[in-house]
């Protein structure tokens, strides 16, 4: 169990977070400068929080009330830096062996050998970091961090410098880590898909605070606010007022568009009639239909962006103001309807795919 409460104030920035991890992979997700790396540095003892409390399993690493601050060397925390930070003057094998202490040379060799095998680095242990590819360097960095058998492994944007093919392979390797490393893992990333694939829980950071900390499925299906919804790739938002709630169905009026939308309020509590809310829909959940009906909006196709696996269409909707409301819909390639710029289409918002954001 890792328990973290950190406060740190810098000019124009305040980190104020609290969370706990227990034997799982926690993904910390957020934009640059939201305090993700700072959190890892505080856990590793490389940065001194102004106040707070950090406990790893049964050891207290930091407690500002007791003026307790364990130096990094005594924390038993494995850290993989964004730029890997391998020792350039040591071979891959010696890099890995660096953190193994108080063992006989044979035991060190055996441990290094096991890690080299686990990380798929056979035949590379005598190479120097400059002679390794970025992917290989990253695996050496992970092996080196795991060598002293740390209680927790901290990965700071480990894939940001890699091409997509190498990245995929290394993600597999991190998933495989769980087979021989049983400690906690924290992964810092700004890539939602990466966090989702690798972790079981995700903490979304926003300007030094945790906007939401949830199981990843929960995070994706019910973001607590619009910031989180945007970070988790919701693209369409409409402000509305709840007009009716019955049988787990919520009716929302969107005054701007002059329309009523039906929403399946899955697990949402504390909703009230006349409450102002925002509804959000992912672009890939919007369907093009041939006829008007419930939850159907009429829009004019304004532009099309082709992606690898989908086609993104942007529709302009008429509003009762002078402004124009724009909706983004993503249709899978192959199943995309034939659409022409400037024509009107009907867009269906499936009730079970609409989320209600209460604040």
């Amino acid at each position: 169990m890792l328990k973290v409460e950190i406060n740190r104030t810098l000019p124009g920035f305040k980190l104020d977070i609290a969370f706990s991890v227990n034997g799982e992979v926690l993904g910390i997700l957020g934009p640059s400068g939201s305090g993700k790396t700072m959190t890892l540095l505080c856990i590793a003892g490389l940065l001194h929080p102004d106040s707070g409390f950090i406990q790893l399993n049964d050891r207290v690493l930091f407690d500002s009330t007791k003026k307790l601050n364990l130096p990094p060397k005594d924390r038993n925390v494995g850290f993989v830096f964004q730029n890997y930070a391998l020792f350039p003057h040591l071979s891959a094998g010696k890099n890995i062996a660096y953190g193994i202490r108080n063992r006989s040379p044979e035991e060190v060799n055996r441990r290094v050998h096991v890690l080299i095998e686990n990380m798929g680095l056979e035949g590379l242990q005598n190479r120097y970091p400059q002679q390794l590819s970025a992917g290989q360097q990253q695996r050496v960095a992970v092996a080196r961090a795991l060598a002293p058998e740390p209680d927790i492994l901290l990965l700071d944007e480990p894939f940001s410098a890699l091409d997509s093919l190498t990245k995929e392979q290394l993600e597999m390797q991190i998933l495989d880590l769980r087979q021989f490393y049983k400690g906690h893992i924290i992964l810092v990333t700004h890539d939602l898909a990466e966090a989702y694939r690798l972790s079981s829980r995700i903490a979304v950071y926003d300007a030094g605070k945790i906007a939401q900390y949830d199981l990843k499925e929960k995070l994706i299906s019910s973001p607590v606010n619009q910031k989180v919804a945007r970070i988790t790739r919701f693209r369409n938002f409409m402000d509305g007022v709840i007009t009716d709630i019955k049988d787990k169905q919520v009716w929302v009026t969107v005054p701007e568009l002059g329309t009523n939308v039906k929403v399946a309020a899955n697990g949402h509590k504390n909703l009230a009639i006349n409450q102002s809310i925002t509804i959000g829909v992912r672009s890939e959940h919007i369907q093009a239909v041939t006829a008007p009906g419930q939850n159907t909006l009429q829009g004019t196709l304004s532009s099309v962006v082709e992606n690898l696996t989908s086609i993104n269409c942007y529709f302009n909707l008429k509003t009762n103001k002078d402004s124009c409301y724009r909706i983004e819909a993503a249709f899978p390639r192959g199943a995309a309807p034939t659409l022409t710029d400037g024509l009107n289409y009907y867009l269906y918002l499936p009730p079970e795919q609409i989320v209600i954001i209460t604040n």
Binding site: P71, P72, A85, L86, N118, L132, S133, G135
Partner: protein, 244 residues
């Protein structure tokens, strides 16, 4: 003949002891200042570099005042019934003060080039500050540390003004090569001046050669990157065949 060469032995002794002292003090000061972020950093930095910009005779005069009978250093030494002005240790002190800025500046520059993440990585791997210094920082900054050592060695060997001020010219005790050459020429003893000049030239060339040899890049630093992609792909294939 022995008289001719006595400045050589004195100089060698002085320079070796001086280089050892500046090596240790220079690294310690550079380590401290490359991490120190306090407000008075520029002031401390300036004090450390001051001997480099001051005329050597001024530094020598300052040392003389400090270590003389009425200076703090002299009074402190008097407690132990010793005095070091115009004795051999004074040559070491003069040379050390004059050569320290070169060691300090070069080493500090080299330390500041070392990626702090790499030092932090060593700390998270259980290394204390000493181990970080000798196993990571020094090896990574080695070319700079070495250059600083050789520069301060050369500066100590050539030290004249400050040495003359605090150690004087006592043949067989404080007369180093540069001082001996000066007084040999003043006395018209061209033979000794010539011999000592050639010796200094040889030492200087030898130290330059040593520097060039030690700084020569090793083959591994030439960025030989074996084509890594095929082995990665092979590895991925093998891994699927035989689950761990």
């Amino acid at each position: 003949m022995n008289d001719y060469l006595s400045p050589l032995w004195i100089s060698l002794k002085t320079v070796l002891v001086t280089t050892a002292i500046t090596f240790v003090l220079g690294i310690a000061a550079a380590r401290w200042m490359s991490r120190y972020t306090g407000k008075i950093k520029p002031i401390i930095d300036g004090i450390f570099i001051l001997p480099l910009v001051l005329p050597p005779t001024v530094v020598g005069f300052g040392l003389l005042l400090f270590m003389g009978k009425h200076g703090w250093g002299g009074k402190f030494l008097a407690l132990f019934n010793t005095s070091i002005v115009f004795s051999w240790p004074a040559t070491v002190i003069a040379a050390a003060v004059m050569s320290f800025p070169l060691m300090y500046m070069t080493t500090k520059g080299a330390f500041e080039q070392v990626d702090t993440n790499i030092e932090d990585a060593a700390r998270t791997l259980g290394a204390g500050e000493w181990r970080v210094l000798y196993s990571v920082t020094l090896p990574m900054a080695w070319p700079g540390v070495l250059a600083g050592t050789i520069l301060s060695f050369a500066r100590a060997l050539g030290e004249f003004g400050a040495t003359l001020m605090v150690a004087g010219n006592i043949p067989g005790r404080t007369t180093t090569i540069p001082v001996a050459i000066y007084f040999a020429i003043v006395d018209g003893n061209m033979k000794q001046a010539n011999i000592l000049m050639i010796i200094v030239l040889c030492i200087a060339l030898a130290s330059l050669a040593l520097l060039a040899y030690l700084k020569k890049p090793k083959p591994r630093e030439r960025g030989l990157i074996a084509n890594p992609v095929p082995s990665d792909i092979l590895h991925a294939g093998r891994k699927i065949d035989s689950p761990p």
